[in-house]
Symmetry: C2
Subunit: 510 residues, 2 copies
C-alpha cells in the first residue's frame, strides 16, 4: 500500500520536474496543500518531508517551502558511481561506510551562512552523493590504524563481553587517562588523572569550557578566520564572538588582541587554536604563545585552547601547547582523537585547570559519561607503543600532498588566487580574486561533484566571501587532481561572469 | 624518584592517621601548607589532590580542605574482597570492569546535596570500593544481551575495520534509525527518519531539549520527587525548577500542575517521566497522559518527555508514550538504550516535533555526532528480532525482585517505613519515619558496604530528607538480602539516636 503522503509527493515531484514549479519558487503552504488535495495537514507535512529528503524542496525558517536546486543534485548523483570506480578500493569501502552513516537530509544553500545552521548545513552537504567531498574534517580512512584498533576492540569484546552491560560513570577510564597523560607530556603538559576529563570529542570539551566561563550575552574573543563550528556553538549558547584577525604565520595577532581587550570590557575568554589553526594551518610561535598567556594574565581572562590539530605538524617536532606554559590554571585545554588517531571514536579530553570541578559537573549534565569501549581500545593502542610511528607517518603523508595541491591551484585557478599552505593539519586556505563569491560558486562545484567550505562561514561578519577552505587530507590521486582542476575551472567561469568591482572596502584580507 | 608532593602527602596522611588532624577538621590552606614545608604552591596543590584521591581529604567549595571520613572508607575497602567472593562470578567480572571504569575521585558527603554537584558526587560515591552499590542507575550486567552485542560488534569490526577511520556526521545511522522507528511504533509513536536525532544518551537529549525551549533565568516545571540528574542539568543551564508533586500511582498531579500554571506565568516547559518515573516507578494512566497534553496545549507550553524506563514495565503491555498522542509537535520525546538494551553504549534519541531542526543544531554544537560502531551494533541486534524476547525477560526479572525486597524492608527497617513499589523500572522508594535523615545515614551505610541515593537529592527544596531510593535491579542473592538487612539495622540505630521531634511541617510526603 502506498501512503497518501507518498502519492502526493509523487504528484508534486512530477510538477517540479515539468517546470510547473521552477527552482527557487515558493511552494504552497502545508495548509494550502492539504486543502487543495483534500488530505490532512499531517499528510501534507509528511509529503514535504519526503520532498526535502529527496532534494526537491528546501524548508526556509519561518518562510515556508521552496523548490530546491534538484537538477544540480541529480547531476552529482549521476557522477558518483563513475568516480567511485576510479578511487582506490580501500577508500571506496570507507567512503561507502561514511555515506551510509549520514541521513539523506536535504542541503539548503540559503541557510549555509546562517550562524545557527552553518555546521548543520555542511553536514547536509555531506549527505549529498559527492565523489569528492573536501568540505569537512575527515581525512582518508586508510591513513588511520584501523586494523590495529579493530583487532584490539575485537580482543576486548571477546574477553570482556559483560563490560557492555556496565553503565559508564566517572571522568574517564583510568587506563586511558594514564596513556593520555603520557601523550600530553609530549605536548609539554604535566597532568595528573584528576586534571583530565574525558568528553564526547573536542566539540563537547569546547562546549562545556565555554559554559564554564560565560553566560548568554557575554563576549568571547575568537580568531578570524575561525572554525565555523565554534561560531555555531557560540550562537547556540547566546555568546557574542569578537573576531580578532590572524597574522600570517603567527596565529591570532597579539597587537590586535591587546587593542581589542583595551577597548572591549567584560571579555570572558579568549578562544584560540594556537597550533595548526583551522582554517589557516598556521602555528603560533612559542614566544607568541607565552606572550598571549601574559596578556591573558594581565587582563585576568581565561584562555580556551583547542588543540585538535596539534599533533599534525608537517615539520619534525611537536610544538608545545599553550597549556605547557600555564602556571595558574588559566588555560582550559581541549584535545581530541578524531584527527590524529581514530576518527570514528568521538573521544576528546579537557584539562580545565582551576575550573576542573565545574567542567566535571557540566559534562555530567551535558551527556553523562563517554563510552568505555572506545576508551579501552585507545588505551590498549597507545600502550602498545605504536602511536608515535603512526603520527610520523600521518604527518609525512599530509605534508606530501601540500605542494601538489598548491601546484594545481597555481595552474588551474583564476590568476591572483593565493594559497595559504598549512604548517600542520590538512587545510588549504585559498583567497580568490574579489568579488568572487565562493558561497555562490559552491552550487556549481557540487554540480561538478566537488565540495569545499565557503570562506563566508569562517566569520560572523561576512568577511572571507572570496575565500574557501579545502580538505586535502587524502592520497594524491588522478581523481583529486581532476577535481581540483574542475573546481579551478568553475572558479574561472564564475570570475568571468562576475560584475567587475574595484575591490570591496568591507572585506579585509585575513 | 618520589615526587615532593608525594613525600608531603605521605607526611600529611601520617598526621591524619595519628589523629593530629581529626575527621572534619579544616586542613592548612594551600599557601599555608606550601610556606610551612618550603615547597611551591603547585606542589602543595598536588599533595592535596593526592589526599583527595586516597580519600583522606575533602575539598569544600570556596572553603578549603577538610579531613575526610577516611576510617569509614577503609572499612568499606576492607569489606570489599569478602563480598566480591560471595557474588556470582559473572557479576564479579562485570563489577570489576565497572570499577576500573571509574576514577578514584574522593567522595564529598558535604557536597552531595549541592545542586551543581549532586550527580558528580554520586559518581564519586561509585568510585568507592562498595560491595553493594545501589545508588546509581546500573542494573546487573548479566541481564543484558552482552554476548549477542559483543558478537555483532566483533563481526562488524572484522568486516569493516576501515569504518573506524570514517568521521561520523549527520543525525544518526540510517540503519539504526530504521530499527528505532519500528521500536517506537510499539510505544505508539509514528516517526519518519527526519523526525529522529541520535544523541549521546538521554542525558544529552534532555540537555538539548531544555536548551531549545528555555534560556537562563527561565522556569520549567518538573515532578517532585524528581531525578537528581535533571536538577543538576537545570542548575547548570541557569534554569529554575518548579516542583509539582506526584500523586501515588498517577505521576505528576494534574490538579497541582493546573494550579501551578495558573499562578506562575512564563513557564517554558513541563518536564515529565510519565512512564515508570524515576524515583517513584509510577506510570501515569493513559487518560492522565492525554489530559496532561491538553493542559499543555491550553497554556501553549512544550512538554519534554523522558521515556528512559518506558520499556521496563513489570506488567505485560508497553504503555503508550505521551508522545503517542502528540498531534501538534509539542512533545519533545527523549529515549535511551542504557536501561533497556545496552548500558555501555551511551546512545539516546530525541524526537523534537516542531523543534527538530533547532535540536539538530544544538546537538552538533554540543558534541557533533554520536559514535557509529554502537549504532551499527544496536541496529544489527534490533534487526535480528531478539529485542522483544530480551525485554520480556528483563521485565520478568525486575518484577521478581520487588516482593522480596519489600519483604526485607518490612522485616528489617524501622517500624513505619513505607515502600513505594515500582510498576516499572528498578527503584524502590522508601519513606522512613521522620526525622530520620538519610543523608546522614549514608555514611553509616557506606561503612557497612552498602549505598543508596538519599531522598534529599530528589528535590531542590530540601524535601524527602527522610526518604531514600534503592536500585534493586539485580538477582536476589544472599549478599543483597544481607545488605538490605544491614541497611535496615543502620536505619534503626540512627532512629534510636535521632532527637524526637513531633513531625516537620516543611517536609510534606510525596
Amino acid at each position: 500500500m502506498q501512503h497518501s503522503y507518498a502519492l502526493l509527493a509523487t504528484r508534486l515531484k512530477a510538477a517540479i520536474r515539468s517546470g510547473q514549479y521552477p527552482v527557487g519558487e515558493r511552494l504552497p503552504s502545508v495548509r494550502e496543500l492539504a486543502a487543495a488535495h483534500a488530505v490532512s495537514v499531517s499528510t501534507a507535512t509528511r509529503c514535504y518531508r519526503q520532498l526535502e529528503r529527496e532534494g526537491y524542496a528546501d524548508a526556509r525558517y519561518k518562510s515556508g517551502m521552496y523548490v530546491a536546486d534538484w537538477k544540480a543534485l541529480r547531476q552529482a548523483r549521476a557522477m558518483a558511481p563513475a568516480a567511485a570506480a576510479t578511487a582506490a578500493a580501500a577508500t571506496a569501502a570507507a567512503t561507502s561506510a561514511a555515506a551510509t552513516a549520514t541521513s539523506p537530509a536535504a542541503m539548503e544553500y540559503e541557510r549555509l551562512a546562517s550562524l545557527q545552521h552553518r555546521m548543520t548545513q555542511l553536514y547536509a552537504l555531506t549527505a549529498q552523493p559527492l565523489p569528492l567531498a573536501l568540505h569537512l574534517a575527515s581525512a582518508a580512512p586508510e591513513w588511520y590504524p584501523c586494523d590495529a584498533l579493530a583487532r584490539l576492540a575485537q580482543r576486548h569484546l571477546r574477553h570482556h563481553p559483560l563490560a557492555l552491560g556496565a553503565y559508564p560513570s566517572g571522568t574517564g577510564l583510568p587506563a586511558f587517562k594514564a596513556e593520555l597523560i603520557a601523550h600530553l607530556a609530549t605536548c609539554g603538559i604535566d597532568a595528573a588523572p584528576g586534571d583530565v576529563l574525558i568528553t564526547n570529542g573536542a566539540t563537547e570539551a569546547m562546549q562545556i569550557a565555554l559554559r564554564s566561563v560565560a553566560r548568554a550575552g557575554d563576549t568571547v574573543i575568537v580568531e578570524s578566520p575561525v572554525y565555523f563550528g565554534l561560531l555555531q556553538t557560540l550562537e547556540n549558547l547566546g555568546l557574542r564572538a569578537l573576531e580578532v584577525p590572524c597574522a600570517p604565520g603567527q596565529g591570532m595577532s597579539l597587537e590586535a588582541l591587546e587593542y581589542a581587550l583595551e577597548h572591549q570590557p567584560d571579555v570572558r575568554a579568549i578562544v584560540v587554536m594556537p597550533t595548526f589553526q583551522n582554517p589557516l594551518g598556521d602555528c603560533m610561535p612559542d614566544a607568541a604563545k607565552q606572550r598571549l598567556l601574559k596578556i591573558a594574565q594581565r587582563h585576568d581572562i581565561t584562555v580556551i585552547e583547542d588543540d585538535a590539530f596539534g599533533d599534525l605538524g608537517h615539520k619534525t617536532d611537536r610544538p608545545p601547547a599553550l597549556k605547557a606554559w600555564d602556571r595558574d590554571g588559566r588555560v582550559i585545554y581541549c584535545g581530541s582523537c578524531s584527527k590524529s588517531m581514530a576518527p570514528a571514536f568521538r573521544l576528546g579530553w579537557v584539562l580545565g585547570g582551576r575550573r576542573q570541578r565545574q567542567l566535571e559537573s557540566l559534562k555530567i549534565s551535558s551527556s553523562l559519561a563517554a563510552p568505555l569501549l572506545e576508551q579501552q581500545v585507545l588505551a590498549d593502542y597507545m600502550k602498545s607503543g605504536k602511536l608515535p610511528a603512526h603520527l610520523r607517518k600521518l604527518r609525512t603523508r599530509l605534508a606530501s600532498v601540500v605542494p601538489l595541491a598548491r601546484d594545481s591551484v597555481r595552474q588551474h585557478f583564476p590568476a591572483g588566487t593565493r594559497a595559504r599552505g598549512p604548517e600542520g593539519g590538512w587545510w588549504l586556505w585559498l583567497e580568490l580574486p574579489e568579488p568572487l563569491d565562493t558561497l555562490a560558486l559552491l552550487r556549481a562545484a557540487v554540480g561538478r561533484g566537488i565540495s569545499y567550505t565557503p570562506g563566508a562561514l569562517f566569520s560572523a561578519t561576512g568577511k572571507y566571501a572570496h575565500c574557501l577552505r579545502l580538505n586535502i587530507a587524502r592520497p594524491w590521486t588522478p581523481a583529486l587532481a581532476a577535481g581540483l582542476r574542475a573546481l579551478g575551472e568553475a572558479a574561472r567561469l564564475a570570475q568571468a561572469d562576475a560584475p567587475r568591482q574595484p575591490g570591496r572596502k568591507d572585506a579585509p584580507r585575513p
